[in-house]
Amino acid sequence: MAAIPTVRLSPRATRLVNIGLPGLYAWYTTVAWPAASTDAPTSARLTCVLALVALAIGAVSTLTHPRAGAALGVLVFFLLCVATWLLLGDALDRMRHETLASTLGGVGWALFALGWGSVRSRAGDTAEPLDAIAGGLAPRSRLARGSLALFGLTIVASCALVFLGWSVVRPAHAVLGQTVAVASSVALLLAAGRLAVGRLQSQRSRPASSQLWSVARKLTLVVVLLGIGVLWTLLGGL
């Protein structure tokens, strides 16, 4: 059976990601985005920023002071978000017409709750149980060089796609834009993950010429489409 290379994050880093990322997403979709509108009052924007600060400080504080961190990252953060919504008033109405954004924001809040729920059950833990039993699991092989950088770049591109999804403002196409953004982000991440894991294995198992030949048909189609695009642009420019 082929070895599956693994990259381990420390328990502290994993915990930070679990509690910080959903909160950040929920904050962005349901608080920051409405507060960024032109008719939002300054007080709402101030509480919006303070909510983000509370979330960040609370998440980091859980590493050393779980209770204080949870109080800041959950209670204070949530109260500041509520204050922002109250101060926004009519400016919050734009969310009413953005069903998908509101739904995704709700999912973000649910994940936020789940992520912080894990802090309560793990208060006082300093290591993964498996580490304590087995003395740590070492990977059987390593990732090819540059795999992490590639995956990092893909994450950045996926975030850009999600943000660009909001730029589609036509009502009939907004849902399509969000769907395309999410689907293409997921496809990119899956492909990058396969690439990061499979590069080393592929180099050992197949000759390079065979690998190139396997994609010849697709690449030919891409070249034809690009040619058609160039021709279309030239003709349209005349």
Partner: protein, 61 residues
């Protein structure tokens, strides 16, 4: 040669990302045909990147 395949496959993934970004920008600019065009190219390029790495005889082009 293996390093070249590596570079090509990484380039394909990044190229696919650029195509998807172009597609969304076109959709936002009300250019639906251009959006569809870039989506198709992006999907083909991304699939090629994955197929380049598939080991064994099961790869289909």
């Amino acid at each position: 040669m293996a390093a070249l395949i590596d570079v090509i496959s990484v380039g394909f993934v990044l190229g696919a990302a650029a195509c998807f970004i172009a597609a969304l920008r076109a959709l936002g600019a009300r250019e639906d045909l251009a959006a569809l065009y870039w989506l198709v190219i992006g999907a083909l390029v991304l699939r090629s990147a994955v197929d380049l790495l598939r080991s064994g005889s099961g790869a289909r082009s």
